[in-house]
Amino acid sequence: MLLNIKYFGMLAEITNCNEETHEFSKTSVNELLAELFRKYPELEAKDFKVAQNHEIVSNDSNITAPEIALLPPFSGG
């Protein structure tokens, strides 16, 4: 599946982009993250959550939607 991965805040500084497409042939969020950590080793040390369909999902969820967002700690307000 061709995923659209979005990066926010300090994560976008590490990846040097706000979004990118990523061809993904495995199943879970954990497997996706392993691929992203290979591409961006600095990501692994960062605190962030993964959203799919605009909802936070756990790392052992399956990827079911093409839009995936990596969200560092929120600091609104």
Partner: protein, 147 residues
């Protein structure tokens, strides 16, 4: 009314005091209201290791954020007896001393507005994907973390 589409809560730049004053004025025709409660978030010129915060630059995962604002709105109307509620959050640069968050709740009775306002603000802080970059006077920066 249930299936209202999420509104856009975001405004580019700071929220002005005139905007807030006008928003208050618009409620004076709603004569069932007895109490308003307003929360304003203002950017602090914090000093961190001898450097002073000059501004915060806000970005957001906008689609998700507007959905979360909408869910918070709906949940708040379920929990509390409110006449109306308005939420505005800045995107982009907001200088120290300027306002970046404006939450406005109104009800016939005061007890409701106190509980509702604190609930809304805490929910926003916890659930809405907004990210603040604290820019110092020397143009270096750090990422804000809510406490």
């Amino acid at each position: 009314m249930k299936e209202r589409k999420p509104k856009n809560v975001f405004k580019e730049g700071a929220i002005s005091s005139e905007f807030i004053g006008n928003s208050i004025a618009k409620h004076q025709s709603k004569t069932s209201i007895g109490a308003h409660n307003i929360f304003l978030g203002q950017v602090r010129a914090d000093v961190i290791e001898d450097k002073t915060v000059a501004a915060i630059e806000y970005t957001a995962y906008e689609d998700m954020a507007n959905e979360k604002f909408h869910e918070i709105r709906e949940a708040t109307f379920e929990k509390f007896n409110l006449t109306c509620m308005h939420i505005y959050h800045s995107l982009g640069t907001v200088k120290a001393g300027e306002i970046c968050l404006f939450v406005f709740v109104s009800s016939p009775r005061r007890k409701e507005v106190f509980k509702a306002l604190e609930y809304v603000v805490e929910e926003i802080k916890a659930k809405v994907p907004v990210f603040g970059k604290e820019v110092f006077e020397d143009s270096s920066h750090q990422w804000k973390v809510n406490s």
